[in-house]
């Protein structure tokens, strides 16, 4: 069996300061999201909201979920999930967006 005293299988320990910084950014991001929703930005309301949400989500995944310190395989897993969601959303929407293109106005 492996020599235990030399084999370090403790994972990477992240300084707690990083967690606090990320927490602060997430809280500020939440406040910005709420504030931005009170502005009249038309079509960009949803864009801003999703951009901020994605920024927050990325921080959660990278730091709280340790993706930044994980294997490439884990990164591939996360990217695959985003890609497959993208397939589901975009191909479904090809139907809904283009339905109006061919309305039959009369016989």
């Amino acid at each position: 069996m492996a020599n235990h005293s030399e084999h370090d299988y403790v994972g990477h320990i992240i300084p707690s300061k990083i967690y606090y910084v990320i927490w602060a950014i997430l809280m500020i991001g939440t406040a910005i999201t709420v504030f931005a929703a009170t502005l009249e930005l038309g079509i960009f309301n949803i864009v801003v909201a999703l951009l901020i949400a994605t920024f927050k989500g990325t921080l959660v995944v990278l730091f709280f979920m340790h993706l930044r310190y994980s294997t490439k395989l884990t990164m591939v897993t996360v990217i695959a999930s985003i890609f497959w969601l993208f397939i589901l959303f975009s191909l479904t929407m090809t139907d809904y967006i283009t339905r109006a293109w061919s309305t039959y106005t009369g016989r």
Binding site: L73, A80, W84, I87, L88, L91, T92, T94, D95, Y96, T98, R99, W101, S102
Partner: protein
Amino acid sequence: MATAVQTVERENYLNSNYGIKSWLLTTDHKRIAILYLISITAMFWIGGFFAMMIRLELLTPAGDLVSSDTYNKLFTMHGIIMVFFFLIPSVPAVLGNFLIPLMVGAKDLAFPRVNLLSWYLYIIGGTTALVAMITGGVDTGWTFYTPFSTTYSNTHVIGAAVGIFITGFSSILTGLNFIVTIHRMRAPGMTWRRLPLFCWSNYAAALIMILGTPVIAITLLLVAFERAFHIGVFNPALGGDPLLFQHLFWFYSHPAVYIMILPGMGVISEIIACFSRKRVFGYEFVALASIAIAVLGFLVWAHHMFVAGISVYAALVFSLLSYLVAIPSAVKVFNWTATLYKGSIRFETPMLYAFGFIGLFTIGGLTGVFLASLGLDVHVTDTYFVVAHFHYVMVGGMVMAYMAGLHFWWPKMTGRMYPEGWAKLSALLVFVGFNTTFFPQFILGYMGSPRRYHAYPPEFQVLNVLSTAGASILAVGYVLPMIYFLWSLRYGEPAGPNPYNAVGLEWMTPSPPPTHNFDETPVVTWEAYDYEHQPQEEVTVGH
């Protein structure tokens, strides 16, 4: 050689522990595979019973055996059981569970307890669905189209949906286990390029399982809630869109057919290599084709919806993508054929089934390309042409591959040989019976005979009678293996570790394998399908 004297049996996974608890609480992947084998076989016969009822009704043009409502239930239950409780789990849960740890040189799957949980979920889901069927049935078709399934059907839709939901998690956990195992549990020297193609195929199928099954799970949950609480997410009368249900349903159910066929293709790769004594031609291409099928298979689902009311522009996109997905399958068929070329071919039973697979899957796959063509699909959609197409790939393809695999690895799993003569006869009966059943259906469909109807115009009777006659022959072809496999458990010739002189880690351990698979962790130094250097005598490792 078989002897009458009972020698002292070596310890293996079958005799290491006795008693029902040692089976029901096992975490040994091989025992779990056997548990699945028994349950899946039971489901196959239940689904087959409904098929028999359908074919009996269709002997005569009039709807005289059962009412139309009952007929609706028959084809629904046949579809649900065969798709969700037989085809999807069959090769992965039985052969994959048994073989993948052996093939990669591991002692078990990555998560053995999750594996057992997976079987229990299958049993609970299957029981739930069967109870729904016995207490009144479901009549929506296995496709559960809304708003009939959510609002207007008076049958046990929720029970069936819940049963499938639970079994879906069984599938997800199996897929998860396979992917993690293949990534993390390979023996030293077992690189990705030395991995048997059976592992590549199951890996690709497992990708589909984990990415697609959750979507149908949430969709069936929504159907159940809609039915229970009279919500209208899929009901046009309440502002919903029934096509959204179809999009979400088929997002899983189309890739699901690749969950079914990919493991079968993996079986065929192993068998063709062994019985041609040759490395599979274009190994890398076959491996990558498996992954390509898994990925491309997710891009084509709306070809099931061409006449449902989707936009014609979306239909164009999905039609083009559906043509593309045929390419990797064709690559595999060509590569298998090239493997046969100048090979030293033996016609044992597994090889007979493999030949059947290649021919019948090609016909089924080609007719799939016909259906991908918008103009043709408008003509033959919802006719027997479609029924024939998917039975060619599912039964002519997948079930044949399952039978091939069961025969090929039966000696490994049980330590016994099956009777070769009876096995060859069964293979022949299956081939003849299958084609007699389903080829007429191509003609029927092309002539306009619709599917899911219990009555038909009299001019279609001859072809229908031919189809039912074929089904009877097919049934005999399936009953015989049941009998001789069971017979072989007691009276079959004892098998050595490698009765076919095949290459692969699973053949280097005794038949049946010991509980821990290998006495020492194997170290792999040879390429996959290294038949050139395979000695003629049987080889064992450890022991």
